[in-house]
Amino acid sequence: MIGSSPETLPAARSLRAGSSVSVHRNRARRRTQRWVERGVRIALFAASTVAVLVTIGILGSLILETLRFFGLVPPSEFFFGLRWSPQIALRADQVGSSGAFGAVPLFTGTLLITAISLLVAGPIGLLAAIYTAFYASRRMRAVTKPTLELLAGVPTVVYGFFAALVVAPVIRSVGESLGLDVASESALAAGLVMGVMIIPIISSLSDDAITTIPKALRDASYALGATHSETIRQAILPAAMPGLVAAFLLAISRAIGETMIVVMAAGLAANLTPNPLEAVTTVTVQIVTLLTGDQEFDSAKTLAAFALGLTLFVVTLGLNVIALHVSRTAKLRYG
């Protein structure tokens, strides 16, 4: 350590004692110091590469298993097939022994639930963000912000419990009193609760997008005689549009990748339907179903889960990259 080396002693003494011994000792110390310095730097660099290794690990394992899956089931069937029933055959001559791996019903199911959740979270999240940013008093803001943060902090398994045991029965009984046929694991229940989960994501990201718009824009609009709401709708929101688009894209990505709510509240049956009162299944639900319980590692059933995982990874990554790109162009405009 240089700070405690003899150099800090009074100058006279160090001059007098400028013998070869202390010079030698200093040199040795400095050499070890250099080694330590280099070692620490290498260790720090190595730590930073772990993130890349994780990405490579994800891509590598997913792609490898997916390729093996496509050796058993052609990609065209997986991406465009309309029937999904991945049972393994117990006997070779069993009916339906081949299993069907057409993932389109899973994609549409995922999209249906995501769409419902966005219909809930989009307006609520955006309006809540606008209200807190422009209208709310300081005291009001002290309530709304923590509320939204609390919503973000609730574990998804708790949302799943809420959807399956509280919301779904209510929707079912309301539907029955209206004379509608509602599945006990309807897409609506899962979508509604997922919407509640997404609200804080949309509201906090929209809040960021709105508040980064320069105040001059707002003031100019007020000076022209516009009301608050006119300013927001005609000046702020168009200017903040890239940020808002990014917020919605990230929310969609979150909704697509969400697992526990749909595992607990959505169904297992792969129905190809746009009806939110019927049960649909999603990509994540099928990954969980295929991989929990007894499994052999080489069957098409388990490999299919990795193909679904790769699809999920590519789609969410794509959405994030687009969102990042969109919001960066926004920053260039006003940053």
Binding site: R41, A51, T316
Partner: protein
Amino acid sequence: MAEPQSHWQSEGFKKRLRRRNAQERRFRRLGIAAVLLAGAALAMLLVSVLSNGWRAAFRTEIALDVDFDPETLGIESPSMDGPTEIPASADFGAVLRNSLLQTIPGVEGRAAVRELVALLSRGASADLAARLRAEPALLGRRERLWVPASDEVDLLVNARRSDPASTPSTRLSEQQIGWTDALAAQARVARRFNSHFFTGGDSREPELAGIGGALVGTLLTLLVTLAVSFPLGVAAAVYLEEFAPDNRWTRQLEVNINNLAAVPSIVFGLLGLAVFLGLFGMPRSAPLVGGLTLALMTLPVIIIASRAAIAAVAFGIRESARGLGASPVQVVLHHVLPIAMPGIVTGTLLGIARAMGETAPLLMIGMVAFIVDVPKGFTDAATALPVQIYLWADSPERGFVDNVSGAILILLALLGLLNGAAILLRQRFEQRS
């Protein structure tokens, strides 16, 4: 001829202004409605979960005069000196049956007796055995003891407490309901504190299931997560903030970390399954694997938070230290990191809190198994608190609803503790700087 009105006093203008002001009020109300809706959703969620949560801490028990008769138990010649051996074959079921028959006289026939015994939990005899082992002096004595009732009796007693005349749809027969009422009339039925819920492992019977095993599993898992992700995350953040050259590789690294933070958690589960279980052959269902998987998921969170904390350290600190002769590594280790530490710890706490509530990756690596024993090490089969919630919520047995609520209550309390600690730290940090 009257003087022409000013433009802003014309009828048309006033009408337009009224319309615009009304529009303004409507918009404002929409905003309030959105905030209220979000608040209502949170309130509904918390109330529905928490209103039943406390019930998990209690279970219905029945007081019986238990006769620890060595003959009925099948324990030969109780030795007067030294600890008495209680064989596994000891028939505690018979003891319970006898005391039930004494309490409720007039039950005849095998079927009726079986129904009577079904009032008690299937774990009641194990409970008695444990008590006798703890206190061997009970052998040969007659003692009034509280033994757990079955979950169906629990449902009935719960419903009767709020409305004495109600008869909930249980699997109990008319006769069994009558016996329960008879026992209650003798003040032999009560809801009593259930310490087993906090210490025990999982069970097929709701009244015997506890979250002790899941709590220990969560603790072990998070220890692994912390031990791996904290040092790696801080080191990576230090490298990126202090040492990384501004080149393409560094920029790629940054983009990579940001993207990793947005990868769905279930994909990390697939990674854990393929790499830790498939490639490295680590044991299934182990907290070690769960912890490693969650660590990879938490890593980007910690890196991003640590970078922000390190970047916030005033630049003068670095220059002063350099000026006094500190090496670049010394500047970071002795000066920058200690100042940034509160921010780093805050970010880490938030990351760990997120990992604590995570379920999906743990499902992938098999931490969903039905595990009765409390795990003792990092490689024992274990489950975690959120997974336990999922397992119970998925169970068809109705009695588990109380357990789920109780477990959620405890999970939320733990999360509140972690987040509260993070907020406190952040506040102290802000005061100082």
